[in-house]
């Protein structure tokens, strides 16, 4: 139905035009495509600081040459895998505990919620105050200086893993509670009256029902941990460096010629994150296949 006063204006769909996505879409595309495009170009030698473009994989080869890339991959992936796994297990347990509404459930819910507004940097700082060899845990266990295990800055990266697991488990717990909120109790009762013991109900009903939520939160946590800088910087050790710290070092190096290597590390990190997201969405689709 054409508006005669404005013959070229389309009639308004009931919810308004689709144009309203643009204020959000344009900056997002500009920043993502621009940022990643430039990173990729620089890593491929297309945007040197001085001299002519020299397309090729030199930057990648150089950063790999010293073995730094390999060890960075091992450290970053290791931290991401372990902390995400811990976060999923602890977060699910917490989510179930909150949702079951037994004695103390609200305390668990409140405790998880308290960690929400804590920035990761602050979390790292306080985790350091807890786990350092002069930290609270060391004092509580009365260990003599030098005998406390090196959680902070040690080869196990334990403090880093602990901080990520700590924050991410709250995230998982909240998602689990939200996911179970509407239906969990009913399916649980339905299972009980069909003869399933509590353990059977957990394995055969609750966890499968939680699978999509866990896949999503697991993927998000993993990718975040992979690309996070401040926690690894504050609680980690100088060598080997995780990907984010390595990239930062190369980026801020006084030798500008190593910039493309920083971009190479950034590009590789992004590629791994993309692969993980793809795997996550495939798993998600499979878990939803029957629904």
């Amino acid at each position: 139905m054409t508006d005669l006063a404005h013959p070229f204006r389309q009639p308004r769909p009931p919810g308004g035009h689709g144009w309203w996505v643009l204020p959000a879409l344009v900056p997002t595309v500009a920043v993502l495509v621009g940022g990643l495009g430039l990173v990729l170009s620089q890593s491929l030698g297309l945007l040197p600081f001085a001299g002519r473009p020299n397309p090729g994989l030199d930057a990648y080869r150089q950063v790999n040459a010293a073995g730094e890339l390999g060890s960075a991959l091992v450290v970053s992936l290791g931290i991401a895998v372990i902390s995400t796994a811990l976060a999923l297990v602890i977060g699910t347990a917490a989510g179930l505990a909150i949702q079951r509404r037994r004695r103390g459930s609200r305390a668990v819910g409140a405790a998880a919620a308290v960690t929400v507004p804590v920035p990761h940097l602050v979390g790292a700082a306080t985790m350091g105050l807890l786990l350092a060899d002069s930290g609270l845990l060391a004092r509580l266990t009365g260990s003599t200086p030098g005998t406390f295990p090196a959680f902070v800055g040690g080869p196990s990266w334990a403090a880093v893993i602990a901080e990520y697991a700590w924050k991410e488990s709250a995230f998982v717990a909240i998602v689990v509670v939200a996911s179970l909120r509407s239906r969990a109790a009913q399916y649980d009762e339905a299972g009980a009256v069909l003869g399933a013991s509590p353990w059977q109900r957990l394995r055969s009903l609750t966890l499968p029902l939680l699978a999509p939520a866990l896949i999503v939160t697991g993927t998000i946590s993993f990718v975040y941990t992979l690309g996070s800088y401040e926690v690894a910087w504050l609680l980690g050790r100088a060598y080997p460096q995780p990907l984010s710290v390595l990239a930062y070092q190369l980026f801020t190096s006084t030798d500008l010629a190593v910039r493309p290597q920083a971009s190479a590390v950034a590009a590789i990190t992004t590629a791994i994150a993309a692969v993980v997201v793809v795997i996550g969405s495939m798993l998600l689709r499979r878990s939803r296949a029957l629904r």
Binding site: Q186, A190, G191, A192, V193, L194, G195, S197, P208, L290
Partner: protein
Amino acid sequence: MMPYLELVGLRRQHSSNQPPAVNNLTLSASRGEVVALLGPSGSGKTTVLRLVAGLDEPEAGSVSVGGRDLRGVAPERRGIALMFQRPLLFPHLTVLDNIAFAPRMAGVSRRDARVKAARFLELVQLDDYGDRSVRSLSGGQEQRVALARALAAEPDVLLLDEPFSALDPSLRADMHQLLAEVRAVIEPTILMVTHDQTEATSVADSIALLVDGHLEQHDTPDRLYTQPASLVVSRFLGGVNEFPGVVSAGVHISDIGHLLVPDAADGGAVLVIRQEAVFLASPTDTRADAVGEVLSVESAGPRRTVTVRCDGIRVVAEVGPAQSARVGDSVGVLLPVSQRHVVPVPMSPAPVPATR
């Protein structure tokens, strides 16, 4: 017959500042019997089912099946299956695996459980739906699968919580038919909650009427209608004719006159008679128990509800097209003796509102 399912003195209070949801309920069902739990919403019917299933604990009273006291027994070990109001089919399992759930939990191998499930799938006439996802089912199909799933648990007692209330009337009739067919094969003992009188009457062997957590009467459908134990029962089932008065030597004396009520005990009593049992006759008919003027005629399809005023008392009759009358007509009202029923009430101080 020996009672198979026995509820004795059940009491459940949801919270301390509310009246009990179920109060001193004693009820029993024989093996293979279908008992309908009928009552208005909030009367505690669902609570009773949850107590029997073990999902809630009673404050007092006991539940036993086949002589075995189930106090303290977890729901999964009671041998009782409950079909909820919503089908609650597990979305991550196929139709067949849903039905096979209970056998699997009991330790049957996956293959054997599926074979068993297929039998029950056939019983509810959804033979080829085994591999489907539960999302693809219609409402009626979902309920059938839910029924098959509960049956596959081979429970001693099957509990149904308004399982068909969300379906439209023709589907509901199909499900009643299905239930009858299932009963012919398996003969389960069923306790079924419903708020629909018609459903209760057509499906159940006996009806237990629950009002405000209290069991008013447990009887066959016929006796519930024609011989209500109390005015609460009569009113819930839609009876409107109530004549308060006194019984003396087999005669009920009230404002409408002297009516013969053989076998009734002396004392204050309200005489009730179903409106469907009242006949209209000509005002000069000698058999008429009272004569009056037609106040109103309301149609409901082919039936009519005729309200007649006799000496200031209203009598309501529900008649078919053959006995129609018009407003203002003078008619005679017949209250057949066999259909009269007296409900004893104390003389005073709790007066029953007169039907004036």
